[in-house]
Every structure is written in C-alpha cells, then in structure tokens.
Amino acid sequence: MDNKSDWNELDAEKQAASRLRRIFGKSLHVRHIDVGSCNACESEVLALSNPYYNFHRLGLFFTASPRQADVLLVTGAMTPTMKPILMETYEAMPKPRLVVAAGVCAIHGGVFANSRQFAGPVESVIPVDAFIPGCPPTPYALINGILAAVNGREGVTRDA
C-alpha cells in the first residue's frame, strides 16, 4: 500500500506519445463532454491532470473549446437532450479528430441501458476510435485509451 508509480512502465506510453506528435503536431488536445454520466467519470478524467498521472508529460492537455480539440472524450449514458449537443460538438472539431468513449455508460448504457431516457451508445451517433471500459475507468485506463486511439489511427491523413 504505497503511493509510488512504476515509472518503467511508462516507456510504452512515451513511444505512443511520440507517434501522436507526428500526426497532431506537438501535442494532443482533449475536449471532454459529459452526455449523461453520474460524475464519477468526470472525477477520474479530472484526475489525469493531477501530479500522480500528470498527462501533460505526454503532451496531452484539456482544452476549453471543441474548435481547438483533437480528441473528444465522451462519458456517460447519452440522453436524448445531449444527443444533438454531442453531434454539434463533434461537428465543431477540426479534422483529424478522434473520439474516445470512456466508461460502460458511453459504451452501451451500463445500468441505464433500459432507461427511457437512454438515447443509445455513443457509437450510434459518431464514429468512435477507442472504448475504455470501467465504472468509472481508472485514470491509467483513460491515458491508455487515449493513446490507443492515436495508435489505431497511425495512417490517418489530415482530413480523417
């Protein structure tokens, strides 16, 4: 039970990070959108910027506007109200753009799958590059998922 991370594990992350720089320029900017989550996912996403995970070391940053974003990180069980807002946010992003669906709710609705207010998985609305399971996914899983999305798109061109 000690709080030290194993820094040797991070080599693989660094390699992925250097690849993402070739595609997206020097860094990758993440826009988070909550389409109906319970707030635990937001809490974990926010943890990415704390000193323990410090995702800035990989060239990853949060951005305020979708217009400056490379990655859309979607959390939550999509409600009918949030569906058009999610599409609008996606449309506002410049190409190339990646979408990461984080948490079981974003993947298939989780415990809310049978709700009348569940409008379908994120993938039914916009193309998704990586899925991150978990309720909520841990911060390491989130970093891994974002980098996996980048790796999966190595051949992307600027208009993907």
Partner: protein
Amino acid sequence: MKVLTAQGSNLKHVERQHHRIGDLVHAVVHFASEESAQLLYFGWIPKTGGWSRLLAVIGRPKHALIEWHHAAPTFGQTAYPSLSARWPAALWLEREMWELTKVLPVGHPDLRAILHPENQEERIVVHGDEVFQLPLGPVRSDVVESMFMRFDTQGEQIVHMQPELFYKHRDIERLAVGLLYPDGRFLAERVAGTSTIAHATAYARAIEHALGHVVHPKVEQERIVFGELERLYNHAHDMAQMASAAGMTVAQAQLSRVKEECLRVNGDLCGSRYLRNAVLPYKGSDVEWAQVVSTVIRRLRDINGRFTQCLDLLRRTPTFVDRFVGAGIVKQEWARAYGTVGPVARACGQPVDVREDYLRDRYEQQAYRVVVDEAGTGDGWARFVVRAGEWEISQRVLTKGLQLLANGDFMEAGSLAGTQDDSKNDGFSLERTGIGLSESPRGRVCHVVQLDPDGRLAFWGIRAASAWNWPVLGLAVANGNIQQDFPPIEASFGLSCAGVDR
C-alpha cells in the same frame, strides 16, 4: 470498547392524513416558519397503481419527529394550491411534478418544462439598456458536468442568473420500478458517482425502514466510516476547485494530489476508488477491519498533514482569500426559505446536518459536532472555512470509527441479523414505505421508497443534496457580483448535477 445497542434512535415517524390536498399544503406551509423544520420530501406517490397521493415528509429534529403528511386528490382534480408560492424550497419540485402529472400548482411563478430543457422556452427576465445576455454551457470549459446557465449582465455586473439542469436526466426513479430491492442499489450507487456512499446508504436505510428493520450497529458503523471517507475526497476536490478558480495552480495541484491519495485509500480498502459495493441493504461489507485499520489510519494521518499544511498556506495568501470574502453571499432568509443543505447552509449559520438532526446517537460517541459559521456570513469564504472544519471533524470521526470497528465488541449488541424497527406510529397506513436519510459531502440526501409485497420497488423518490442548493446559486451569483467572481462562487458551492438530474 462499548458500542451502542441497535435501538439507539428515539426518532419517531408520525402519519398525518389529510382529506384534501389544500389542507395538506396549508399544514405544510405552517412548517415554513418553524425554525429547524425541514422539507425532506414533496411529491406524488402511487397507491396501487397510478399517481394518486401527494406526500410531504417534514423533518422536525427539535422534536425528534418525522411527519408524513399525505392526501389523495378528489376525483378528477387537476389543480391544487401551490406550496412553493409560500415555501420556495418546492419551486423546482413543483415544476417537475407539473410536467409529470399535469396537476396544476396554482400560484406557481414559473411552470416551464424542467425535465426536458430542449423543450424549454427562453424566459427573458431582465430588460433594459446595456443588458447583455450571456449563455454558458452545456459544453463549457474544464472537465465539468453538462448544464446550462444564462447570465444577464450589465457591464461586468451580473444582474440575474438562471441555472438550467436536467440535461442528464436518466429517469432513474422510473427505471427502478419493478426491480428487486437488492438490485436497486446498483442504480442508487450511480445516482451521483461522487456521492456513491451517501446515496447507497440512504437507499439501504429507506429499504430497511420500509420493511421495518434496523440493521446491526456494526453495519451502521461501517456506513458512517465509508461516509466520512467519501467526505474527505470530496472536500479535497472542492478545495482544489476553489484553489483553481482563484488561480492558485500550486495549491490546486497539491489538493488534487490529496484527493487522489484519498481515492487510493478507498480503492485499497474495498476495491473501488468510489466505494462501490461497500454499502448494501441489510448487509455489511466484506472488509476485514482488524487487519486494515492501522494502515488506513496511518495513511489518513499523512494525507491530513499535507492537506492542513496546504490550507494554512492558502489562509495566509491574500490573493486567494480576497476572491472569496464577500463573494456569492447567501442571505440567511434565502437559506431558510429554499431549504439549503450541507456546507452552503452551515456557512449561513444554519446547523442543518443529518448526522446531528437524525442520527445524533450514532455519531456522538465519535466526538462529532456540526461545523457552522457562527456569524452566518454565507459568503464563499465561510463555505471554505466550514469545509476546512468539516475535514478536521471527519478525520476525528474516522479515527474513532475505525478503531471501534477493529476493536469494538459488537456481539454485545445482539445477533448480526439486526432488530425490529418500531419508529413508525401505530396504524401507519402507507404500507412498506420508508425514508432513508444520509449526509453526503454536499448535504442531505433523502430517498423515499415503496415496495410491493414481492420486495420489488413500486416507487422510488430521490432528493439529492444539490437539488436544494442549485436554485440559491442563481440568487447568490447575482447578489452584487461581477462576471469574474463567478468561478470562485461556483467552486465554493461545490454542486453536482448528476444527483439533481437523476
């Protein structure tokens, strides 16, 4: 170590049946002026199918009473006198009830659709020269929940602000109908993820109350400990957000580090960083307390050292303090009228706290006391001070509570099965109906459930803490503040949307 017996509570539940809804509203309005009376629940509940009964649950902690007022509508009744016209605490509740049932609360000032913000018509409140309307959300900067705010500004001055929620309305209450009660807890834990324990505890207590059962003191003791663990990481989070809103980057990093360490303690203790699967109806957790308690206490002490050091530095940083003193003042009469809860209410000098009001017997042996701002200033700084005080108390309650779990002789208190609950009065006519209360880091969480004879949920009503505080945020933000004051005010309120939206 001596522990309490199961029947420690002297809280009584009394039923008051009214002939007409008008009489009920009249009786409930009477409590609006009674100091310390709290509106715990207000809404329609079914009685063998259909929405057929208006229920108001009033807590009167001074008298150790919870009063259940209910009345059935007369045949074809389509309107009743609005409660919120006299007690604003019910404003958002009655909007929701109107949208769901189309029974008109006569005299309600604003009946726009609340559950479906996409259908909501825009309401312009402020008119005049130089008035500028600034919409914010639902997608806005930072990692936050989706909600919308409409500011009316004149220059930099905020004249009016309306928050609009329910963008994430997941309809949990109706989704749960028909579920067996042990399955309902999966939903209860996900009403608001950062208040997992508060909602799971309220749900478990409501189920147990409905079925007339009191769990073993050890189970209740575990709930207390988990609840305080949840409070620690949430308060660290709120403090980090406040530091961030005031531009204190180093403090924000340090405080988010504290939050992460708290989450790791939770994860190591019960396998989930958000304490899922720890609180269940009727059952205790699987944690072997005797083996882990000393490690947990040692780690909490380390974390506490870092946290207090950071807060001491913040207290002595004028650029931090200045952003909060006098910002977003909640007037005492608002706090009372809107039934605010949690640190927001306690910063106004109101000792509203479930632990003190309804569970005192369970908490008092752990040196618990309510932290209130005696002056009742109700500004951002008071909310900071209240949270800082609560952190300290939580540490104390946790240390004692953990030791009690590890060393306490709980066998003395009777068999692990628990005992019969006799807090309801004789002839309580709402069958298999119960209420569960718990104090989340943001304030009082209240669940009302009704079970059918097979143990399936027939009705579930959820009142999250933030539901009482959101309407007041609008008033506090427009109370003589400018645009730049908004981030610190919002951070000092520390509200959540998920619990309100359900």
